[in-house]
Amino acid sequence: MAEGNKATRDAGGFRFKVRGPREFYGGLVLIGIAILAIWASRDLAGSHGFAFGPGTAPRMFAVLLVLIGGAIAISGLLVDGPPIEKFAYKGPAFVVSAILLFACMIRGISLEYIGLPISIPSFGLVISTFVAFMVSIMASREKRWFEAVLAACGMTLFCVVLFVYALALPFQLWPSFF
């Protein structure tokens, strides 16, 4: 702690200087998540006599998370730490899109309940797997299209044989609108 006091003095009173950005912003996000959890469990009944209500434990741990998140954020103000590494956007974006595309295509999904007039029909396992493979391969820096298509076909075939024939899991293979 002595080190911390010295640091604030050097900074000249209460001027904020983020010394450990990984800690500072990490702590802030944790506090944010905890506040979201407290807000989300606001309607849940608390303790009733000796018995815990459904809301007791979530609020208890959310408050604890606020405290720990706060402590981590404050440590980010007091102790020097490494800078935050740059986030890559392209790779994660393709990986996530591939996963989301798979999720939407495998059984079809209707986005009406979140207010979008879109509904995606069910494409079945074969097409979903192939598309997800091709989209995720774009996350890589080197692109070899011929090899990619070949690998996608191979992987699709492997998955169909493994999951549908060998494991006999209930999958729809082809699009429903054919």
Partner: protein, 502 residues
Amino acid sequence: MTDLFANLWLGFSVAAHPYNIGFCLLGALVGTLVGVLPGVGTVATVAMLLPITFGLPPVGALIMLAGIYYGAQYGGSTTSVLVNIPGEATSVVTCLDGHQMARQGRAGAALAIAAIGSFFAGCVATVLVAALGVPLTSVALLFGPAEYFSLMILGLIFAVVLAKGSVPKAIAMIVLGLLLSMIGSDLETGAGRMTFDIPELSDGIGFANVAMGVFGFAEIIRNLEMSQESRDILDSKIKGLMPTRQDLIDCSGPIVRGTILGSLLGILPGGGAVVASFAAYTFEKRISKHPERFGRGAIEGVAAPESANNAAAQTSFIPLLTLGIPPNAVMALMVGAMTIHGIVPGPQVMTKQPELFWGMIASMWLGNLMLVIINLPLVGLWVSLLRVPYRILFPSIIVFCCIGIYSINNSPTDVIIAAVFGVFGYWLSKHDFEPAPLVLAFVLGPLMEENLRRAMLIARGDASVFLTRPISAVLLAISFILLAIAMLPMIRKRREEVFVEE
């Protein structure tokens, strides 16, 4: 003692059933295969292959999953020695001396010693699991809700103490994991908690989705960022598999010490194979008469950590099978697998389903034997697997994970949740947060809350019950002492030193 043999006999008669031998072999093979691939960790492997076991009978499914787990430990060591890339976190230290041995043309001896050490550790650990199973189960019967709660606190504190990096951050991950585990319907009242009115969240977040997200997808995103380093695969034929007499004499001590250390660390909740291998290596280096040989191809530096990680991998089944508490993330997945098959892990498994309990234990020994037999002749095959470029490998893993997650509940939402956790896991890694404590807490969360609520109800709202019941008080005291030790900056520095080689 006669009971032990009768039980083991029952176990072997179950495990030796042709189907179960098949599952065991398949699990060990698949585990080795995935263990060899760098960038796919054990947790992700088990999570990924979980759906494959759905259609199997419960005994077969668990035998296969266990096989995958220790197969991955073996596979990891193969790549460490030959390519200097640890396939698994548990074989990071094996790289240090194993790869040096390979460069000196002694790859065969390194691999053989790793296999022999692992096999020996596996045999000892199997007997240990069998011997400790019965007494620990009777201890479990003395446990009430307060004791269970305190024991889980101890487990989580262990996870904090043994995690790399800062203690407050590990605690934050634990609390976050507990909080996430509470999403969904309340156990007692059925009220939807923190579901944001999304119907798919009313059943809670599936454990496999979280694990696959933070371990599988996040790992891929991180790997894509790193420059594609060329893998220096040793092309020369591996000859002279058998270690010399002198090697065997040199290694007998390290293997025995590694096994003991690994077995102890494996039983402790929150520990596990990674810590065991580091600890065994450091220990050997410290007691060695020639510590300068370590890092330059000392065969002891391969034997000790490989024995330790295998012993720990196996003894970590003890808390799961006797107390129903998973000591690490892989065991947490086993809980998931057992639940899917309608088995509640805990002391009642041994009395109600003895054939499952003992069959699994016996299959561990058989699995280890199979690994020695299949691993050494197949080394060439495993190495050729490494030639598959990552640009083909990672889309395959993504697709495989997607299908796997989807097939657990036939739910597209689960896939989306896993994607969200993938991004979150990537963010966590940028801020030096460890995902392992989060996942462990996520699994223990519902159990902990249930026991906390029951304990408080029985004690009529008096929280001092955790301190007045002796077993509970001792457990909490140990947790407190451990935490205090971890918080002491002096020791924190030492902790970092242990992990510095990573």
